[in-house]
Symmetry: C2
DNA sequence: TGTAATATGTAGTCAAACGACATATCACCG
DNA sequence: CGGTGATATGTCGTTTGACTACATATTACA
């Protein structure tokens, strides 16, 4: 199995996974910031519960799609916030998912769905 | 809960559900024809197992998204093929899902995913 | 001092896709 | 006439992952 097939076999992403990866696309974020970002990105439609978020982050770490970022930035306090960033694998999977989504809309247009015009 | 919220609460569709509904968008089809159509629509990527297909069809019937079509067309033989068509609810849900997918791609563009350009 | 926002996590449940299995007919070829 | 592949419909058991509920702790502000 080549790299492309390896990636394709992970698709489709769930909506939750898609939004988490997309939230990390511009740069590192910690869990709670991801929650707020996803809510904003989805126009309040997707509100991650903490159960969903942290089990998803654990899974994404195991899969090697994201990794922990050591935070040099202790903002005065000593609080530890665990930040995450995309790995190159994670970024590749996100790109592949975007292409898959485009394919879904392409076939909707083929089937003359007015909303897909 | 108004009609729009009723529909929104059913999203996101799974990929399997999306393709089945899309396969029925142009008109009635029976199970096996749906299987072949989905395979073609997805460029061989999505190959429904019969376990997936028939349990999905049963669920979609229960939900009232599709309904059985009485087949007047017995093609010479007496074989019974069970055909299905979209209900107006099913069609509305498919349209809403197309709009959701467009939203997913819109945010990917916002995040400068090159593949979403 | 209390309450809302920030922040991270676990446990148990449920929906749905999947592979494996089962059955039957039809068309065609050797 | 017998076999094989396509057509056609279905069940069962497993696994994945999202969800709700629960649990804990800090910070900021009124």
């Amino acid at each position: 199995m080549d790299a492309r097939e390896q990636i394709q076999s992970q698709l489709p992403l769930t909506e939750v996974t898609y939004f988490i990866l997309l939230s990390l696309a511009p740069g590192p974020r910690h869990g709670y910031a991801i929650m707020k970002d996803v809510r904003a990105l989805s126009r309040e439609r997707v509100s991650l519960s903490t159960g969903t978020l942290y089990t998803a982050l654990k899974r994404l770490l195991d899969q090697g799609w994201i990794r922990r970022v050591e935070e040099p930035e202790k903002n005065g306090d000593g609080r530890v916030r665990k930040s995450y960033m995309l790995t190159s694998l994670g970024a590749a999977i996100l790109e592949a998912e975007v292409e898959r989504l485009q394919g879904l809309l392409r076939v909707a247009r083929m089937r003359s769905l007015k909303s897909a015009a």
